[in-house]
């Protein structure tokens, strides 16, 4: 595939709703999965002979197994409330990137094969046969959806395009037409344990390096333990945290927080990935297989609690699905929610007064917070609805002096996706990613100009990677994206001079996690 030439959209003062232009993104296609990528996930290697029949049969199967899919395909009245809500539409003007436009690519086929009106009066209700051309459109446009659920906030029936795009991808996988990026990555998790394919020794090396760096920096022996049996807390974090910037600064922060809270914790090679791309391809089976690694690791290590690092879609799966997919977790300490988010942990300790912070360490920055879509609209933190908005902000405000929110209609449940979620964080979809980032970039630019904000903090590995990549397209610096626990790391004062792991009794069944 030739590297696509495209123009970065111009930043305006407000997020404008453009006039639609048909077909501006129809040339988009992403690399197709190779046979072994597909087969490792239980899908046919290549496009099957009778693919139309197989696809329709799969659609019927999903209709009988997912109420969301059935109801959402029936209920849409084409009211148009969602049409100006998708960041990919706002950035690309392509009507197939309007949520309802995207859904209709599949709904038209559903109507043709599964409804009375579509079978007998296809023209009247806009029903079409499943042709090669339609399949190409599916492959293109269902890989231009980041499954961020912004549309579902505004739909009078709560229709969630994410559910439709997950189903579409599962149908395509079932006929051997998979996406390389997602399927290759899921294969790596099944085989090695994380998205990046890092073997245990490489992780151990990295963690040792981190310990040295932190010691050089602070003269305190903060540990980054791996596969320690009998630790209280299993930390599951996206594998990008081991290498990428600014992710790794967040991981350093988690370690300092655990250290200062005096709890014993460990990472795991088996569960060295919080992310779970099984959700992106809509495959319950693959999502479950990936999730079970976490259960196994928790059992093998004999931990009492599971805490998740900063990762958006991982938190959706952890919070909303993990209990379903890999539960029940009755072998863990019932005094804590399973799992917990690292922000819940940190905020809990802050409220107890565990930490001393020197906020001035972050005075070179003025921060705004990007609500990651899966955290904002598909999960929660803390006991009350909306805690997912308050708790990360509370943590940030506890460690920085300068904080300002972006405009109200671009944060909280109305937050705009970074543009790279849902399995699109691949270079072959760069044009989609850059255009889809437009609304967030606009809001960020405004808060910089109006409030003097310098940095964007996030709690999602995909958001962090995406912003690092797309900031330069919009004239920003790639280092303007920071991890929330990087800010914590900067400000936290390490008063506990001995690592809890060096204290006697570590690894035994003790209760020092008060």
């Amino acid at each position: 595939m030739a590297k696509a030439e495209f123009k970065t959209p111009e930043l305006k003062e407000i997020i404008e709703v453009p006039k639609l232009e048909v077909g501006t993104m129809s040339h988009i296609t992403c690399f197709v999965a190779k046979p072994d990528h597909n087969q490792a996930l239980g899908f046919p290697g290549e496009k099957v002979e009778n693919w139309q029949d197989a696809a329709i049969a799969k659609m019927g199967d999903l209709l009988s197994r997912y109420r969301s899919f059935q109801v959402y395909l029936d209920a849409c009245v084409k009211c148009g409330a969602c049409t100006d809500k998708c960041h990919y539409y706002l950035g690309s003007k392509d009507p197939n990137n309007m949520p309802v436009g995207r859904q209709d690519l599949l709904r038209r086929v559903y109507r043709r094969y599964f409804t009375f009106a579509g079978k007998y009066f296809p023209k009247l209700v806009g029903a079409v046969d499943l042709t090669d051309e339609v399949l190409d459109q599916w492959y293109s446009y269902f890989h231009q959806c980041s499954q961020c659920r912004r549309c579902s906030v505004f739909c009078p029936y709560g229709i969630d395009t994410a559910e439709i795009s997950m189903a579409a991808r599962e149908i395509m996988d079932s006929i051997g037409v998979g996406q390389k990026y997602c399927n290759e990555i899921i294969g790596k998790v099944h085989k090695i344990g994380n998205n990046l394919g890092l073997p245990g020794p490489a992780i151990a090396d990295t963690l040792e390096g981190l310990e040295e760096d932190v010691y050089d920096d602070t003269e305190v022996a903060v540990k980054y333990p791996l596969d320690v049996k009998g630790a209280d807390i299993l930390l599951v974090t996206p594998s990008a945290d081991f290498f990428a910037e600014p992710h790794v600064d967040g991981l350093i922060g988690y370690g300092k927080v655990f250290h200062e809270a005096g709890v014993s914790w460990t990472l795991s090679t088996k569960a060295s990935e919080a992310g779970n791309f099984g959700m992106f391809i809509g495959s319950y089976e693959n999502m479950r297989r990936v999730s079970l690694r976490i259960r196994e690791a928790a059992l093998e290590l004999g931990v009492k609690r599971i805490v998740f690092g900063e990762c958006g879609h991982a938190w959706r799966i952890a919070y909303s699905f993990l209990n379903t997919l890999a539960g029940p977790f009755d072998f863990l300490d019932p005094d804590y929610p399973v799992p917990q988010h690292i922000c819940e942990f940190t905020w809990g300790e802050i409220q107890k007064g565990t930490f001393e912070f020197d906020k001035s360490e972050n005075d070179d920055m003025s921060i705004t917070f990007h609500d990651s879509c899966n955290v904002a609209r598909a999960s929660r933190m803390g006991p009350t609805p909306g805690g997912q908005f308050e708790i990360p902000r509370n943590v940030i405000k506890a460690v920085v002096n300068n904080y300002h929110d972006m405009e109200w209609d671009t944060i909280h449940e109305r937050t705009f996706c970074c543009g790279g979620g849902g399995g699109l964080l691949t270079d072959d979809l760069m044009e989609v990613r850059v255009k889809g980032a437009l609304p967030r970039m606009t809001a960020f630019k405004n808060v910089m100009e109006e409030k003097g904000v310098t940095h964007l903090a996030a709690i999602c590995a995909i958001c962090k990677s995406q912003f690092t990549k797309v900031f330069p397209y919009y004239g920003f610096d790639m280092f303007q994206i920071v991890s929330v626990h990087q800010l914590v790391s900067n400000a936290i004062v390490l008063n506990r001079k001995t690592a809890p792991e060096d204290a006697p009794g570590y690894g035994e069944d003790d209760d020092d996690d008060e």
Partner: protein, 240 residues
């Protein structure tokens, strides 16, 4: 002619009731394997009932989404609701007190209904994004409802057909005592369109009426950490 209409309404009622019942049964039977409420979501069942109430009565999400569409569709739906309540008087004797009481508002609610529909039609025609997603059936539904509403207004305020006869006809259908319909063209159009709507409803986008109650993003309680959610087909995966 009256017999034809009597049969038409009998068939339309059966199709509507059976068709809707089948779809509702299908929705109820289809499992929702994962917890997918759009958050922030209520953490209790009572909270979900309130969320659903706000959604069904006030169109909360649509209000967040698009103010013009919200105004027009709320006028239409609330107008239609009052008009339908008012119509109960044509089927029962004696007429219940609440139905008597809404009679004056119910008459004028028809105007709100038609104005709402015209607004929705205008949006469909003039907003490029909404025009793009509209199939012929989307326009026809609006026209059908406008014809029903406008013919109703004509009869209430201008033509005044013999409503006592109409009432005898409809009570006659379900008491099998027979009865004649006044051969008034506007009334016949009104009734034909209503019968058509009843016949098509279970096969159309009007399934949003039962659909909303089954929408997992709106009707699920946000408690996945506290309570394990597992459907039958997922349980089978664990056993294998």
């Amino acid at each position: 002619m009256s017999t034809v209409y009597a049969l038409l309404f009998i068939v339309a009622t059966i199709v509507l009731v059976v068709g809707l019942a089948r779809k509702i049964a299908q929705y109820a039977k289809t499992p929702a394997p994962l917890k997918i409420p759009t958050t922030p979501a209520p953490v209790t069942k009572t909270g979900v009932v309130l969320r659903m109430f706000r959604e069904v009565v006030f169109f909360e999400s649509l209000f967040k989404g698009t103010k013009w569409t919200w105004i027009f569709s709320w006028m239409f739906h609330m107008g239609l609701f009052l008009v339908l309540l008012r119509h109960v008087r044509y089927f029962i004797e004696p007429v219940w007190l609440p139905i008597e009481l809404i009679q004056p508002i119910g008459k004028y609610a028809a105007f709100a209904m038609v104005v709402g529909l015209l607004g929705l039609l205008a949006r469909r025609v003039f907003v490029d994004r909404v025009r793009y997603i509209s199939a012929p059936s989307d326009y026809l539904w609006l026209l059908l409802l406008i014809v029903i509403g406008a013919s109703g207004i004509m009869m209430t305020f201008v033509l005044h057909p013999d409503v006592v006869m109409v009432k005898d006809f409809f009570t006659g259908i379900w008491t099998f005592s027979g009865g004649q319909l006044p051969m008034d063209p506007v009334l016949l159009i009104h009734l034909s369109m209503v019968a058509l709507l009843m016949l098509l409803l279970p096969f159309s986008k009007l399934l949003h009426i039962p659909g909303i109650f089954f929408s997992p993003s709106r009707n699920q309680v946000d408690n996945p950490r506290e309570q394990r959610h597992l459907v039958e087909w997922a349980k089978k995966l664990e056993e294998s």
